[in-house]
Amino acid sequence: MQARLIHRFLQCLLIAFCLMATDLRAADDLRAMVDALGGGSFQQNQKQVEALAKTGDPKIVPALEALAEGDLYQRKADGTVFIVKPAGANFKLIDALTGDEVGEEAKAALEKVKVNNGLRRVIRGALGGLTLMSPDTSVRLQAAGTILRTPTADALDGVETALAAETDGAVKAMLEKARAAAILVSDRPVAEKKAAVATVAQTGGRDSLSLLSAALASADESLRPDIEIGIQQIEDQLALWAAGQNIWYGLSLGSVLLLAAIGLAITFGVMGIINMAHGEMVMLGAYTTFVVQQVIRTSFPGLFDWSLAIALPLAFLVTGAVGLVMERGIIRFLYGRPLETLLATWGVSLILQQAVRSIFGPTNQEVGNPSWMSGAFELGGLTVTWNRMWIILFSLAVFAFLLFLLKKTPMGLQMRAVTQNRRMASSMGIRTPWVDALTFALGSGIAGIAGVALSQIDNVSPNLGQGYIIDSFMVVVFGGVGNLWGTLVGAFSLGILNKVLEPYAGAVLGKILVLVLIILFIQKRPRGLFALKGRAVEA
């Protein structure tokens, strides 16, 4: 009863819409054609879609798209075709031409307009031709791109008409490529195909490669060499991009290594303290981020994008304070006995690990990415994720900050003086114990900052630090102790070496090879890449 009422109402509504339409007859025709899609066989529907495409009316685009997606349904009662959206147990009905919502209907009262791959192909071609003439530039560009990726001989006419009418440069270039791709699959003469091969080869990319490979199978003799050259050209280009991608991954790994090692470059490199608890400082920094995000989540959800900015100084303070306590409480009694320092700081690392495990539990904690760090963008053939990008920039910024601090500030001057000649520095009135403590706190604080960044790409668990400790020592030793630039070069060269080896040797074997290479390298240059010269070496 109710259904009938709604039906009536809808019919009235429909009539009203029809009356309102400016071109009443054409709209009527279109609606009849769309409605005819319901209940037709696949072949009939293909013809129907082609007929719809011939009208060139952009109004039918949503209906065709819905058909391809399988969202087009016919109401059993009156044969009207709707686009539907699931709404609970019912379907929400959307008018196929105007896009207005026109009510709901039980699922059982609707029948799906069936679609198969053959029909989908026809729809795609039709859509391409339709949207190519759209007044919106971005829509045209997208349509041309679609044809480029899935070219059909049928689309060729449409592309050429559009090309003749096109005025926008970018769209025109895309259309040229799409035309070339379409020519390859059509039965145009050889000369035209040759030009098309050249254009496709120039476009490059995996799609063009598969397009050319497909064309190679069915091409005749005179065309073959051209296609082979084109394939070669694209393959070379792809290899270049792959190498570029590897180097990018290498840079990304290098930045992680740099972040992990740069605090160690201060505590171990400058002060000569073997700080085995360095990894735990990184871990504390990551947990600080976690706590900051927890507080933000519960109390100030609006500030989430600022969580890292808030966590940075806090992590610096927390780990710096831990470092200060460590230096004053333990390490200052062990100067001049590096191996004992190693053992004592290892003890500290065990205690910190267990403390974090007792407080936060042994499982991974969830640290979220702020919105500006998620997602990725394409750069030529490279996929660049934002978080990796930011971490590379951040590691370089930390490096620059540290370099500035050491070379241009009074504190840095005092630090360097104390490392180079403790007694002379002391005679000049520098309070060497305080400089020691502050330097160690600085190194630890930097490790904490690194932890904030690494929390974005790694699992935040009590074992976080252990994964970095050996790598960090390798970087510092490889780069040369006491030299910040050495750490920078060491981190990035080890990162890139690791990632370049990976495709040939596999991830684990690559890492083993790098370790073996470092061991061999240290035999050759026991003081690392950039060794300090002079008396400082002997100390």
Binding site: M276, W346, G347, I351, I470, V508, I512, L515, I519, P526
Partner: protein, 387 residues
């Protein structure tokens, strides 16, 4: 020559310790096997296994002490030598399973059948013979130590740098043994052993025999290290530890001195590993973990480095403490271990045995000085009395 080596080796402390170890080697199995389970002197089998394990740890600590305590090389890679020895023994035990594995393949161990391997890799040949496996348990770590030490000592990598690259070595091996393609059972390692030399590995008798073997091996190694340390070569070893450059300038080939100690130490660690595996029943790549190497260092430090008895005492104390602690308050074991690291380095740099020895020597000197003073006072008083 051997007699003079022995004569020098057997100081009083060493004789006492060796005697204790040999007595234990006889007594503990006897008390385990010959007494009834409800007898007050009965030693349960699990205790025999547990202390057998401690003895292999003690042997490992002793090996580390030879290079660290006497030569100043802090190796953070001794777990690698230990694990290599263990893998050699594990391979023998694996071959002994024969057709009794879950896949029933007479030649291939289970994990190889699982990985669909058709034939035995070349490096598994020969491990069906006990003598070969035993030889490999010593040679493989020895060879690794020789090659590694040859390069490292020749280019004068020392101190902290050496510690770090030994750590890198064991880390690289850890990663390598995790790989299935290596042919050592990958992640799961080697386990499910059935018997050793024809005896069931689970039986009470075998457990006791392994305990006795560990005690005898430890006693033997103690005599050997003591002989090395007290020989002329041992004096040079200490010279290298205390003043490497000066020893070199005196004309000694420091790298050879170091290399010898390093290789002997690695071989001892290999023996320890080979005795460890049948007692715990499994060997997996986790044994290569750099953290294990560092733990060995703390056993040695607690007992007292540079003393031969110290590492044995330290290994047994720390591991005994670990067993008690992890059973009673598992949360706090890492706190205790970490605290131990800090306290020992800060307040007990010579370890337990070293501190006791220092104390005894001070007392002795004090008494000597006191006696001398009394004699002098007596001598000074004498003439006055004569006047």
């Amino acid at each position: 020559m051997i007699t003079s080596f022995l004569a020098k080796a057997l100081g009083r402390n060493i004789v006492v310790t060796v005697a204790i170890l040999l007595t234990l080697a006889a007594l503990v199995p006897a008390l385990n096997l010959l007494t009834a389970p409800d007898h007050p002197l009965h030693v349960p089998t699990y205790i025999v296994s547990l202390f057998g394990k401690y003895l292999t740890y003690a042997l490992l600590a002793l090996a580390l002490d030879l290079v660290w305590g006497f030569c100043g090389i802090l190796s953070l890679g001794h777990a690698a030598f230990f694990a290599l020895g263990g893998y050699a023994m594990g391979m023998y035990l694996m071959r002994q399973i024969g057709a009794r594995g879950s896949y029933g393949n007479p030649l291939l161990p289970d994990f190889m059948v699982f990985l669909n391997w058709k034939e035995l890799p070349w490096f598994w040949h020969g491990f069906d013979m006990f003598w070969f496996a035993a030889l490999m348990a010593v040679l493989a770590p020895g060879l690794l130590a020789f090659v590694f030490g040859w390069f490292a000592f020749r280019s004068r990598v020392n101190g902290v740098y050496l510690s770090i690259i030994t750590q890198a070595m064991t880390f690289a091996l850890l990663l390598a043994f995790f790989r299935n393609d290596m042919g050592f059972g990958g992640n799961n390692g080697l386990t499910d052993f059935k018997d050793i030399l024809g005896f069931n590995i689970q039986s009470q008798g075998t457990r006791s025999a392994l305990f006795a073997a560990s005690a005898v091996a430890l006693a033997l190694s103690l005599v050997i290290t003591s002989g090395i340390v007290r020989s002329k070569y041992g004096k040079i070893l200490v010279g290298v530890r205390d003043a490497e450059s000066r020893t070199r300038f005196l004309g000694y080939r420091v790298e050879h001195v170091k290399l010898f100690a390093f290789v002997v130490s690695a071989m001892m660690a290999g023996v320890a590993g080979a005795l460890y595996v049948p007692q715990v029943g499994i060997i997996n790549p986790g044994e290569f973990d750099p953290a294990n190497s560092i733990e060995v260092v703390i056993w040695t430090a607690v007992g007292g480095r540079g003393t031969l008895i110290g590492p044995i005492v330290g290994a047994i104390l720390v591991n005994g403490g670990k067993s008690v602690f992890t059973a009673a308050f598992p949360e706090f074991w890492l706190f205790a271990l970490g605290g131990l690291f800090i306290l020992v380095t800060l307040f007990l740099p010579k370890g337990i045995v070293g501190t006791v020895r220092q104390f005894v020597e001070r007392r002795r000197e004090y008494h000597k000085a006191k006696a001398a003073e009394e004699a002098r006072a007596f001598a000074a008083a004498e003439p006055q009395a004569a006047e």
